[in-house]
């Protein structure tokens, strides 16, 4: 009530102001009006720039925290003789040039080669930085550094567009980055929480497929397969299931393409069905840990493994089914949420249903759990 009275009193006083003050207020109003007409776009641009600038501060903070976490973890686990800071900084700037695809024939093999070279190079660098780390810890460190690398890249890309926008005063340069900024920030925040998970070796949401496979193969003898995968022969609903996953508990996705191909070839193509389980991105509005079923090779990444799986299946005309566990990008790279962990049981039930419907008793089947095996043994 007091406030209303005060405002009313101020209004009364303003109305009683001499005419020269009224003229001044009118001129000011006109000035504001014309300023918005002629400089409206610039004002909009400045407000967008400020928004990007605010996010850039946060990205810089996240990037620096990531770098610090990586250096501290290397010092703690790797026990290096010298300070690894310079090596970490060099690592953060690594890049990979994708193969030329003007002539697409054979591009998959070229890409695979480049990825292999990158993998070996990163592993060697980690060994140099952290000589005392065992294989599991080295894999976790590699993942930690890759998350720090991703954060460094995101920060630099946003900074590039921000500075370019400021330099060119182009609304469209700033607008395009401002529009996708919320999605980029979500991704950056996800990588920031992934850093801690990788540094400590905690299971991440992406490992949902690997967790399902681990539950199926636990207690059975495992055999190593090409490119960091393991397989266990498990009796499953009257069938013989070859359960495949990336070797854990170190941070590793393996090469399921090579692993599935090896098992198919070892059995001379006599496989009744292949079932792949993977974490998949959910749409907004869908429940976390929801299970869906479909057809096709459920595997992400650069596409080499998917190509190899599809190629092997085509050779022997083997049907393929997919079971996915839905989660968002933030959950995929941060420590596994309880909902995702509990979804593993539901996924196993769905696999049982698929196996009973799509194969006969005595058949041989492949169940491949795709995803990062960090923090998940077998």
């Amino acid at each position: 009530m007091t406030i209303i009275c005060t405002i009313a009193a101020v209004q009364n006083q303003l109305l009683q102001f001499p005419s020269d003050i009224q003229t001044l207020v009118n001129i000011l109003l006109y000035l504001v009006f014309f300023a918005f007409i002629f400089y409206g776009q610039k004002i909009q641009m400045y407000s967008m720039l400020r928004e990007v600038e605010g996010s850039l501060y946060k990205l810089k903070y996240i990037r620096d925290e990531g770098r610090k976490t990586a250096i501290e973890t290397i010092k703690e686990i790797g026990k290096p003789q010298a300070d690894p800071t310079a090596q970490v900084d060099r690592f953060l700037e690594y890049f990979m040039i994708s193969p030329q695809s003007l002539d697409p024939a054979g591009v998959v093999w070229k890409l695979e080669h480049i990825l292999d070279v990158r993998d070996v190079r990163l592993k060697d660098e980690v060994k140099l930085m952290a000589p005392a780390a065992d294989e599991t810890q080295a894999n976790n460190l590699e993942n930690t550094l890759e998350a720090a690398m991703a954060l460094n890249y995101i920060y630099k890309a946003i900074r590039h567009y921000y500075l370019l926008g400021k330099k060119t005063y182009s609304l469209y340069v700033i607008m395009q980055i401002q529009m996708i900024l919320p999605m980029i920030m979500r991704e950056a925040e996800a990588y920031a929480s992934a850093l801690k998970a990788f540094a400590y070796g905690q299971p991440i949401g992406d490992g949902a497929g690997a967790l399902v496979a681990a539950r199926l193969m636990h207690g059975h003898e495992t055999k190593k397969l090409p490119k960091d995968c393991v397989v266990a022969t498990v009796p499953f609903e009257g069938r013989t299931a070859f359960v495949i996953k990336a070797e854990g508990p170190g941070g590793n996705v393996g090469r399921p393409g090579d692993a599935i191909k090896t098992v198919i070839e070892e059995n001379e193509g006599k496989i009744a069905n292949v079932i792949m389980i993977d974490a998949a991105l959910k749409l907004e509005g869908e429940e976390l840990g929801e299970i869906a079923e479909g057809i096709g090779a459920a595997i992400g990444g650069p596409g080499v493994d998917q190509y190899k799986i599809e190629d092997s299946l085509l050779k022997y005309r083997i049907p393929i089914n997919a079971v996915i566990i839905k989660e968002d990008i933030g959950d995929a790279v941060s420590p596994m949420r309880k909902e995702i962990f509990d979804a593993a049981d539901k996924a196993i039930e769905r696999i049982k249903q698929v196996v009973l419907e799509r194969s006969k008793e005595g058949d041989k089947i492949i169940i491949a759990g795709v995803g990062n095996s960090i923090g998940i043994g077998q």
């Binding site: 070796g201 681990a214 949420r337």
Partner: protein
């Protein structure tokens, strides 16, 4: 390894000084408006207006800065490890320790002396009250 809060950045001393100076000047304007009211009512009203606007704006900027800094914090909920004895069913939930992984065999069970096993590692996120949509 409890709830993990990365060290929050602080408000820069310069920004804080500017905001506080603006707040002080606005309060001064309010005081002056009361004191000059008898001699010059017009000037007093202008001072009152300036004071109120100044106090509101500096408080808003201060709160916004604090809010922006709070947004910068990355809060990671604690990760829990579930340990189970497959023989007697004894279950224990504790905070994650470095080196834990799913299906890792641990020390013997307190009840039956059989080996304990890590059966789950997860984080529990307390969801904020979600906005209800009709679809």
């Amino acid at each position: 390894m409890g709830e993990n809060r990365s060290g929050p950045p602080r408000i820069s001393p310069f920004s804080l000084m500017v905001i506080l100076a603006a707040l002080a000047l606005s309060l001064l304007a309010l005081v002056f408006s009361v004191s000059v009211f008898e001699e010059n009512a017009d000037a007093a009203w202008i001072l009152l207006l300036m004071g109120v606007v100044g106090v509101a704006m500096s408080t808003y900027v201060l709160l916004q800065t604090r809010k922006r800094l709070a947004k910068m914090r990355i809060v990671i909920p604690p990760v829990m490890t579930t340990i189970e004895c497959k023989k007697c069913g004894f279950k224990n939930v504790r905070e994650f320790q470095r080196g834990d992984f799913v299906f890792k065999e641990l020390e013997p069970c307190q009840k039956c002396n059989d080996k304990m096993l890590i059966t789950a590692i997860y984080k529990e996120v307390k969801e904020k009250e979600r906005q209800r949509f009709p679809f």
